[in-house]
C-alpha cells in the first residue's frame, strides 16, 4: 500500500508534468514576434536600406561632380583673363559672326595681281552654303562666289598654291578647274569663306567637358598671325 504522503506527491508531480508540457499557446508569442520582425524587415528595413544605398550612389555622383568642378575651376583659373580677351577678339576677327564674299575677295584679288593674273570674271555673290559641319551642329556657315583668272601656267599654279594663306579669313576653294586655252591657262574656282553664327542665348553648361583653347598652340598662333595681318591692313 502507498503511503498517503507519497500519493499526494504523485498527484502533484502529475499536475506539474501536465503544466510543464510545451503547448501551442507557449509558441504563440514567439511566432507573433517572429512575424512582426519579418514584416518590419520587409516594410521598414528593406526600404531604409534601399534608400541608404540610393544616398551612397547620390553621394558618389555628387563627389564626381565636385571633382569635375574642381578640375574645371583649376583649368579655367589657369587661363589669363587678359590673354583670353585678346585672343577672343583676334580669333573673332579671323572667323567673324558674319562674312561677305567682298571681305575676303579683296585678298584673293590682291594675290592674283601679285601673280600677274588677269581677272576673267568676278561674279562673286553672298550665297550661303551648307557644309557637312553645319548639318551636324548648325554653327558653321559659309559664303561662296565663283572667280576666274588667267595667266601663265607657272603663275596660275603659284596662285593655287598660295591660295590658302593669302586670305586672313578662313577660306576654302571648291571645284577648282584649270583649263588651257591657246598659250594661257585659266583657273576657275568657287571660293568659300567661313564664319560662325553665334547663338542669341548661349546656354552655360558647367558639366560639359572642358578643354582649354591653349591646348592648340599652333592653331592659335596661326589665327593670331592672320588677325595681326587683318588688323594691320585695316589700319
Amino acid at each position: 500500500m502507498v503511503p498517503k504522503t507519497n500519493k499526494k506527491n504523485l498527484e502533484g508531480v502529475s499536475d506539474r508534468i501536465k503544466s510543464t508540457k510545451l503547448k501551442i499557446k507557449d509558441l504563440v508569442i514567439p511566432i507573433v514576434i517572429a512575424i512582426m520582425l519579418i514584416l518590419i524587415t520587409i516594410f521598414l528595413f528593406v526600404p531604409m536600406l534601399t534608400k541608404a544605398f540610393e544616398y551612397r550612389n547620390q553621394l558618389k555622383s555628387i563627389k564626381s561632380k565636385q571633382d569635375q568642378l574642381r578640375t574645371l575651376k583649376t583649368n579655367v583659373e589657369k587661363l589669363s583673363d587678359e590673354q583670353l580677351t585678346k585672343d577672343l577678339i583676334e580669333v573673332k576677327s579671323v572667323i567673324p559672326r558674319t562674312l561677305k564674299v567682298s571681305s575676303f575677295l579683296f585678298y584673293i584679288d590682291e594675290l592674283a595681281k601679285q601673280k600677274n593674273l588677269t581677272a576673267d570674271s568676278l561674279s562673286a555673290g553672298d550665297v550661303n552654303i551648307h557644309t557637312a559641319e553645319e548639318e551636324q551642329d548648325g554653327k558653321y556657315k559659309g559664303v561662296n562666289g565663283p572667280l576666274a583668272y588667267y595667266g601663265s601656267l607657272e603663275n596660275v599654279l603659284s596662285f593655287l598654291d598660295s591660295f590658302y594663306t593669302s586670305s586672313p579669313y578662313i577660306v576654302s576653294p571648291k571645284n577648282i578647274s584649270l583649263e588651257k586655252s591657246a598659250d594661257r591657262w585659266e583657273v576657275k574656282v568657287n571660293l568659300t569663306g567661313f564664319y560662325i553664327v553665334e547663338e542669341e542665348s548661349v546656354s552655360f553648361n558647367m558639366y560639359k567637358p572642358f578643354k582649354a583653347y591653349t591646348d592648340f598652340p599652333n592653331v592659335i598662333e596661326t589665327l593670331r598671325e592672320k588677325a595681326k595681318r587683318l588688323n594691320s591692313e585695316v589700319h
Partner: protein, 218 residues
C-alpha cells in the same frame, strides 16, 4: 513483540522500496519526509530546457534585430547627412564656377573657331602638286597634252587631253592604272579625229595621297 514489529516494518519498507523504484525514484525521499517541491522527472527537465532555449533564442534574436536596426538607422542617417553636406558643398562650388562662366564661354567661342579651322585645313590639298604629278606621268610621250583639269577633292579629279594616236592614249591609260597613288581610273570619253585622239579620265586617288594639312599653317 518489539522485535516482531521491527521485522514487520523492515519487511514493509523492503516491500515498498522496489515499488517506488519501479515507478519513479523521486516520489519519496529516503528519510520519508514530505517533499513540497517535488523533484522533476527527466521528461519535465527536457521540456523545461526546451522552454528556456526558446526564451533565450527569442531574446537573442530580438537583441540581434535591435543591433541590426541600429546599424541600419545609423548607416542611413550618416548617408543622408553626407549627401546633404555634399549637396551644399556642390552648390557652393557651382556658384563659384558660375562666376567663371564668361571666361568659359569665351574659351568655348575660341574653341569652336579652332575646330572649324582644323576641319577646313584637314580637307586642304595642293592642286599644284596634283597637276604636276599627272603632267609628269603624261610626259612619257611628248604627244600627250593635258588641257583641262577639274579638282573635286583631294582624292577625286578628272582631266581631259589629247594624243596623237590611240596607242599613245592606251599607254597613258595603262600608266595611270598602274600608278600607286591612283586607286581607280575610268576612261570617261575617247574620240578620234584625223590627227588627234581626245580623251577624258575620271581619277580616284588613294586617301591622303596629296593632302596637305599644313597648307593653312604655312
Amino acid at each position: 513483540m518489539n522485535k516482531e514489529k521491527e521485522q514487520d516494518n523492515k519487511i514493509k519498507t523492503e516491500d515498498t522500496a522496489p515499488q517506488i523504484k519501479e515507478e519513479e525514484t523521486f516520489i519519496a525521499d529516503n528519510d520519508e519526509a514530505i517533499n513540497l517541491v517535488p523533484i522533476m522527472s527527466k521528461s519535465e527537465v527536457v521540456v523545461e530546457k526546451k522552454k528556456v532555449k526558446l526564451n533565450v533564442s527569442a531574446i537573442l534574436s530580438i537583441i540581434a534585430f535591435l543591433i541590426i536596426s541600429i546599424i541600419i538607422i545609423i548607416f542611413s542617417t550618416i548617408s543622408k547627412l553626407q549627401v546633404e553636406k555634399a549637396k551644399s558643398e556642390l552648390t557652393k562650388q557651382e556658384q563659384e564656377v558660375k562666376g567663371l562662366s564668361s571666361k568659359i564661354l569665351s574659351n568655348d567661342e575660341i574653341l569652336s573657331r579652332i575646330y572649324l579651322y582644323q576641319n577646313i585645313s584637314s580637307n586642304q590639298y595642293s592642286p599644284k602638286k596634283i597637276f604636276e604629278y599627272f603632267t609628269k606621268i603624261a610626259s612619257f610621250d611628248s604627244n600627250i597634252q593635258l588641257n583641262l583639269f577639274t579638282f573635286k577633292s583631294d582624292t577625286a579629279l578628272n582631266f581631259e587631253g589629247e594624243g596623237d594616236s590611240l596607242d599613245t592614249v592606251a599607254r597613258f591609260w595603262y600608266l595611270l592604272s598602274e600608278d600607286e597613288k591612283i586607286k581607280k581610273v575610268v576612261l570617261d570619253s575617247l574620240s578620234k579625229s584625223d590627227q588627234t585622239v581626245r580623251f577624258s579620265f575620271v581619277i580616284t586617288m588613294v586617301d591622303n595621297a596629296f593632302s596637305s594639312n599644313n597648307n593653312l599653317e604655312n
